[in-house]
């Protein structure tokens, strides 16, 4: 019974939010002093400013890559993170998690530590670009979550990565 009530309330809230959203221009940046919209998923075919979807289409990429057993931010990664930092500065209430990943050529425990290094060097770079580090959490997945499945140089290069995820 309580659950049903909660579900109904939640549904009502969603309707209210959706109704509210339709009245706003889709990509207007927040006016000075106004709190940006809380991040939302796409509503209909619109993308809410400050949402994960907005992040995805606004930044050069959500992912940067690393050399074998390395965790330094190279020039390509810098350009990507600069675009992420710009977006994050526009939505100062949005928090992100940075996932650190490794290829399969390291041992499991070492890769957990290496993934942590990659996530942290990414976080440190964003902080140096003005993003409050309190908004940025990190998680290392080591070699547990590859995206390229081959056992070859191209796949390994894709898997050595840090991914920025908008969590609200």
């Amino acid at each position: 019974m309580a659950k049903t009530t909660a579900t109904l309330l939640f549904a009502t809230a969603l309707v209210a939010l959706a109704g509210c959203a339709h009245k706003r221009p889709p990509v207007l940046p927040p006016s000075p002093g106004e709190q940006p919209m809380p991040p939302q998923g796409p509503v209909g075919d619109q993308i809410m400013p400050g949402s994960a979807a907005d992040f995805q289409r606004s930044v050069t990429s959500d992912t940067i890559h690393f050399a074998l057993d390395q965790y330094d931010i190279d020039p390509t990664a810098r350009a990507i993170l600069d675009s992420q930092a710009q977006w994050l500065m526009r939505y100062p209430n949005v928090r992100v998690t940075i996932e650190g990943h490794c290829d399969e050529r390291g041992t499991r425990e070492y890769n957990l530590a290496l993934g942590d290094r990659r996530a942290n060097s990414t976080k440190n770079y964003l902080a140096a670009r003005g993003v409050n580090p309190a908004r940025v959490s990190t998680i290392s997945y080591g070699k547990e979550r590859p995206i390229a499945l081959g056992s070859d140089e191209a796949s390994w290069a894709q898997n050595r990565r840090a991914v920025t995820i908008v969590i609200g």
């Binding site: 041992t107 499991r108 056992s151």
Partner: protein, 475 residues
């Protein structure tokens, strides 16, 4: 579901003839293990050796045994009366017991059990009076006979006798009283008795392995904490696979498991109590904690903690408390493993620029690098005998090898594409590790190899497996 693993203990009984075994079973079911010197049966020569006596001729050469395994006969164990037990019909259990002993000894690589066509049925009274004329004709040098009896209280008594066929003498005997749920353990104990008596090595068959059961696609492996007997039987899952779990290790008292879990997206170490199924966070902290390892006395847990991209080794009382930092290099220090006397810790560090093995005192002092050859070295594991450190060597694939604690005598034991994370059997003569296959499947399996490096075997698991930790011999 209440787990009862550690409530169940094997009771050892002295076998004073067959009648004596039954009597002992009724009078001495004890919650504590009671290893006893076997008493000789009437009319037989005592097998025990007094100091200074000449050792018996029957002995397995553990270094040459792989090329010339000892022929051994292990006929089905008879039962005085065929009755139904909670483990099955008693005669069927008797056949299975000898199968388990056969597999254990065969898998050690040191024995060549006779095929079924060479075996003959053993009558119950014959258990203590073997047909040496027949067994001598089979080529068997050793003979394992035994019996199974269902007791009135629901327990089972298993007798186990080892004979020297050529000398026509009994070498040793043991009896075990077990609850029906533990009937396989009686066979493992019997195999351990035979193995230790004939090789001089310590026992390892009656032991368990905790590991990570794996299934699903390479990009999203489902991982469950699992425990099983050393031979792959009696396996069960302890977690449901909804979160990633990694690197479990069984406590020395075998009552708990420390492992890493991504529960709530906070990758941290947990201590899981096998009896109650409850678990607790080892170090209440938001930082990444991983790579756990118990001290041999069970009082400490070594672990690694990453903080701001730097990883160091810490130790914390196993029951909880304040962690003490043992390393403070700016690199990745992880993979800590205590020496069996608890005085030293082997670990890996990339402080030199690549992963290498180091040894330090248990308080973190005196850190010294011991690996220097080309390639990277990871996951050091100190042998329970203290004489060797096993490791994963990276360079043209992953391979399992061993070296002395001083760094000398490096030997590689495996040659898979990716063989990782060795763990020692309780006797320090066999290692288990996991082997990952190349390419899109990314499937892992558990394998074992002995110190000679030639007896590589896949350990049967219901799904794939990784991150094995071989627990101690069971009490």
């Amino acid at each position: 579901m209440r787990q009862t693993y550690y409530h169940i203990r094997l009771a050892f009984v002295a076998l004073i003839g067959l009648a004596g075994a039954a009597a002992a079973a009724q009078t001495t079911p004890s919650p504590q293990p009671m290893p006893q010197q076997a008493a000789p049966a009437p009319g037989q020569q005592p097998p025990a050796l007094a100091p200074g006596q000449t050792p018996p001729p029957l002995e397995v050469d553990v270094t040459g045994g792989i090329s010339a395994p000892m022929p051994i006969a292990i006929p089905a164990m008879p039962t005085p009366t065929i009755v139904s037990t909670a483990a099955g019909m008693s005669d069927q259990v008797g056949r299975e017991l000898s199968n388990i002993i056969t597999n254990d000894l065969k898998n050690s690589g040191l024995f060549h059990p006779l095929g079924a066509n060479m075996l003959r049925p053993v009558a119950f009274p014959e258990v203590t009076a073997p047909a040496f004329d027949y067994w001598g004709g089979t080529g068997a040098q050793a003979l394992v006979q035994g019996f199974i009896r269902a007791n009135g209280d629901g327990t089972l008594t298993v007798g186990c006798y080892l004979y020297d066929v050529a000398a026509r003498t009994e070498l040793t005997r043991q009896g075990f009283v077990v609850p029906p749920s533990d009937w396989r353990r009686a066979a493992h104990k019997c195999a351990d008795m035979v193995y230790t008596r004939l090789t001089g090595e310590g026992p390892y068959f009656d032991s368990r392995v905790v590991y990570v059961s794996e299934t699903g696609p390479k990009a999203h492996r489902i991982k469950r904490l699992a425990i099983m007997d050393q031979d792959g039987f009696n396996g069960r899952f302890l977690t449901n696979g909804q979160t990633i779990v990694l690197t479990p290790e069984l406590s020395p008292d075998q009552r708990s498991i420390v492992y890493m879990s991504y529960l709530n997206d906070r990758p941290s170490l947990y201590v899981y109590d096998i009896g109650s199924g409850r678990q607790r966070l080892l170090v209440p902290n938001t930082a990444l904690t991983f790579a756990p390892s118990f001290s041999p006395d069970g009082r400490w847990i070594l672990f690694s903690m990453a903080s701001n991209g730097n990883t160091d080794i810490y130790r914390v009382p196993a029951h909880g408390g304040t962690p003490q930092r043992l390393t403070n290099s700016p690199g990745i220090d992880t993979g800590g493993s205590f020496s069996p006397d608890g005085s030293k810790i082997a670990f890996e560090s990339d402080r030199s620029g690549s992963q290498q093995i180091y040894v330090m005192n248990a308080d973190g002092s005196g850190q010294q690098r011991i690996s220097f050859s080309a390639g990277r070295y990871a996951t050091p594991e100190w042998s329970p005998r203290g004489d060797l450190i096993a490791f994963t060597k990276i360079g043209g694939g992953f391979h399992v090898g061993v070296m002395s604690p001083g760094g000398g005598g490096e030997r590689m034991l495996t040659d898979g594409w990716q063989d990782e994370s060795p763990t020692w059997a309780p006797n320090g003569r066999v290692l288990m590790y996991f082997r990952t296959s190349e390419g899109k499947s990314g499937a892992s399996d558990l394998w074992s190899v002995d110190l000679t490096g030639v007896n590589q075997r896949r350990i049967p698991t219901p799904l794939d497996g990784s991150d094995p930790d071989w627990g101690p011999i069971r009490p």
